[in-house]
Symmetry: C2
DNA sequence: CCTTAACTTCACAAATTTCTGAAAGAAGCG
DNA sequence: CGCTTCTTTCAGAAATTTGTGAAGTTAAGG
């Protein structure tokens, strides 16, 4: 007598256990890749939600964490453009949303980070000397990042074309 | 005979302070991006070295850390293919090296990690149902990673061509 | 074989990070 | 205006991570 399928009352009830299993598993992989735990879990929960949006209270309940933890996680995720915040009109509630389009870049290209790597490398080349062996190594590393920076932008463009073709829009 | 080399004060003598400044600055940016501190510092030191190789003792001294810390950092870096280890023939010394070619991919594409993301997403699609809104969102995310996985390989190929053109070889 | 140099592993102290409850801060609604 | 509902900030307890000294392991060189 499991509760499976119960609560068909309002909308299509999803199996909360299956959702939770996915959320925790995917979040664990994000953590492995260096993301903090709470942001990872919040993000995964949004990804697995029906509408791609959840309120603070829903997140708090679903993930069994305090409102404070939700607040901190969302602040981080918004900062790196992986979610955006929306005010529900006529309510103090806020909704958080994954924009299927935006977050890919945040997660993969990390433009801002690469920019700072480039800055550090430029300084290094200048101070060690462009004509020294180590200076040359740094210069080549810098060239690599400048190259992929350009190329990643083109790649994202190709993805959009491909997606439109395959998924319509 | 130790090759202190500090005699040449003009021109290409390496200024240890300038080196250290670069090492700490670049390492800090790697830390910001999620890498641990010691691996970051060791990696930056190798990048900034003249030959692209350093021994354990040299790293220990230059970075002011214990041999144990070097050992741990190198183990990690080797695991993710950012440095390789070489035995100095006829000595118990080991040299660690950055391969200007290999480490780019390790740092940027993170194949293994993306593979595990894909696995988690596939499971999610299966268990939530490919015909549900959330299932569709996960499927599209999965498609994105499969797409860039392919594309990144091509990008690295283009980089090699470009580099050869620009830097000779 | 035995010595010794070089690297690795391990247990633990210290530093850092993470998450919470409590209180304060906004903003709609009567 | 205050009441009420939701979110954010903050101090601190708990958990985790980090780097070290010391002991252990491996292998060169006599």
């Amino acid at each position: 007598m499991t509760e499976s399928g119960s609560g068909t009352e309002s909308g299509s009830a999803r199996d909360p256990e299956a959702v939770s299993r996915f959320v925790e598993r995917f979040a664990a992989q994000l953590v492995e890749a260096g993301m903090q735990r709470m942001p990872s879990r919040v993000f995964a929960a949004l990804l697995a939600s029906d509408t791609g949006t959840l309120t603070s209270a829903e997140l708090s309940e679903q993930l069994q964490i305090s409102p404070a933890a939700v607040s901190g996680a969302v602040r981080y995720l918004a900062q790196v453009h992986m979610v955006s915040r929306e005010r529900e009109p006529g309510s103090r509630r806020e909704r958080y949303r994954v924009h299927s389009d935006q977050w890919y870049e945040a997660l993969t290209s990390r433009e801002a980070i690469i920019k700072r790597w480039e800055d550090a490398l430029r300084e290094g080349v200048a101070s060690l000397g462009a004509d020294t062996p180590s200076g040359r190594r740094l210069a080549q590393t810098l060239a690599f990042f400048e190259f992929i920076e350009q190329d990643v932008a083109l790649m994202m463009e190709r993805w959009r074309v491909y997606r439109e073709e395959r998924f319509g829009d």
